[in-house]
């Protein structure tokens, strides 16, 4: 048992065993400040977000996209603002760039939580911009089966989606005319906090259909790999990606405000790590001088 000498400085000793709750309260202050007085730190746009934007903008008008909403309320804080920015782009800015023409959307959820996010983030935007349900887009609600459902969807869309979430038969939906399999889909976008993107990459990207997503930061490393292997055309990682996308479409909003708090809270973590290591050096210095 190495006996700690009394003279080693008390200050670093106290700092070493500081009560973790103090660190937590200071974090709250560091996050609250930018909300009360925004700092507006600039956000450079990274490649994955730029490619995500370019790929969507390059889609020919009238082509059909699969929108997989498989995230739930617990991740709204992280991907809510990004999804809102994406919907803002799809329903307003894309038509402006293409003389008023629109894309068509086949929307579904392989997570039970998906319908909640559809009602919170997708439906309001469609209604607000006068998109016609059943003609421009159709929603099929929760589809059970996880990976197997995603695989079967690629092969035969009508067999997996016989009727939409309101009960209309698929044949009555004009949006679904000519939509049979992956061959009729231009691109896939996933609002993902449960890992559904992995299944779309495996069963759709492997067949040449581009996959992109709005995702939680914890899965960034995995999607960076898929993006590097060209399995994904891009991704919007957490609110940081959302802030970049908001700057890209010229509408800074929720995600930008969140990124400010990110900077301060990140700084707090870095300060803590540096202090911890200075404490370590001081300790080593004191125990050396003692010997």
């Amino acid at each position: 048992m190495e006996v700690r000498s009394k003279e080693s400085s008390g200050f670093w000793e106290k700092l070493e065993n500081i009560d973790h709750r103090i660190l937590y309260w200071i974090l709250i202050v560091a996050i609250a400040i930018p909300y009360l007085r925004p700092l507006g730190i600039p956000v450079p746009v990274t490649e994955p977000v730029q490619d995500f934007y370019n790929t969507l903008d390059a889609l020919p008008p009238g082509s059909t996209m699969i929108l997989e909403i498989s995230s739930g309320p617990s991740a709204y804080g992280e991907i809510g603002p990004s999804s809102e920015a994406v919907m803002e782009y799809l329903t307003k800015i894309y038509p402006e760039h293409h003389g008023g023409d629109r894309l068509r959307f086949v929307i579904l959820s392989v997570s039970e939580q998906g319908p909640l996010m559809y009602n919170a983030y997708a439906k309001p935007k469609f209604d607000e911009t006068g998109w016609q349900y059943g003609v421009d887009y159709a929603y099929f609600g929760f589809i059970s089966g996880l990976e197997t459902a995603v695989a079967r969807l690629a092969e035969d869309i009508p067999s997996l989606l016989p009727s939409d979430y309101l009960g209309n038969d698929i044949d009555d939906l004009k949006a679904m005319d000519g939509i049979h399999s992956y061959k009729d889909i231009a691109a896939v976008m996933v609002w993902d906090s449960m890992g559904a993107t992995e299944w779309y990459v495996k069963h759709w990207a492997s067949k040449g259909v581009k996959v992109g997503n709005v995702c939680v930061a914890v899965s960034l490393p995995a999607y960076t790999m898929y993006y590097k292997n060209k399995d994904m055309y891009g991704f919007i990682g957490s609110s940081r990606g959302g802030a970049e996308f908001e700057y890209l479409i010229g509408k800074p909003g929720d995600a930008v405000a969140t990124t400010d708090t990110l900077s301060l809270s990140h700084l707090w973590v870095i300060i803590l790590i540096i202090t911890g290591n200075i404490g370590l050096l001081v300790e080593k210095y004191f125990s050396h001088s003692k010997r």
């Binding site: 939680v216 930061a217 809270s265």
Partner: protein, 211 residues
């Protein structure tokens, strides 16, 4: 200014959860914990019954697909584990679950975990016109091979201090540490983003911020 009682109620729940970290495990936290466990179990029960209805009962009853009797019987057989004399048969449905899960697990990793990673490494080119890409590809291939060697059970055991194997093991261990650090850096951001949303909700609930 009309007080939004619902927002205040939701703020009290957020504070209840945060009290575990900001204070200690208290009856306030315990109430939120058990309220959450209760409503989550209720939610899971409802979703599960809905799934069983659509995947088993509906095909059996209205589409008369008799085959669906089998999974339903197997599901009921599970409950025979409560009496010792019939416990042996309750293991049959468990065997089905384990067999299917094991196979899906093995199928799932074959391409996603093994082949696409081997392919990404094996097709890394050192002859591209961009010097930096060549350098990066060399580092990537070497790192992958070294770390893979580190995880061997009988080969690279790092026998004697100073032997080549020991050095290789030391370098690959440093590469693993680098990877752990990089993941820590990218995951930290997520954690801090989520808490930001909750703090914002508290500020709005207590009127310090207009949403």
């Amino acid at each position: 200014m009309m007080v939004d009682y619902l927002a205040l109620w939701r703020a009290m729940l957020i504070i209840g959860v945060f009290s575990y970290a900001l204070w200690k495990e208290s009856p306030y936290f315990r109430f939120c914990e058990h309220a959450f466990l209760g409503s989550a179990l209720g939610y899971t029960l409802v979703i599960t019954i809905k799934t069983i209805n659509t995947t088993a009962v509906f095909p059996l009853v209205s589409e008369a697909k008799i085959i669906y009797v089998i999974p339903i019987i197997l599901g009921i057989v599970l409950f025979l584990r409560y009496s010792n004399s019939t416990k042996w048969i309750s293991r049959w449905p468990i065997a089905l679950i384990i067999g299917v899960g094991t196979a899906l697990g093995m199928r799932g990793v074959l391409y996603a975990y093994i082949i696409s990673q081997v392919k990404a490494t094996a097709t890394a080119s050192f002859m591209t016109d961009n010097a930096l890409t060549n350098f990066n590809n060399i580092i990537s291939v070497l790192t992958t091979i070294l770390v893979l060697l580190f995880f061997t059970f009988t080969v690279l055991k790092g026998e004697k201090e100073g032997s080549l194997m020991f050095q290789l093991r030391k370098i690959s261990r440093l590469m693993i540490m680098l990877t752990l650090g990089a993941f820590f850096g990218s995951i930290t951001m997520a954690r801090l983003t989520l808490i930001a949303g909750q703090i914002k909700e508290l500020l709005i609930a207590f009127g310090l911020l207009t949403s």
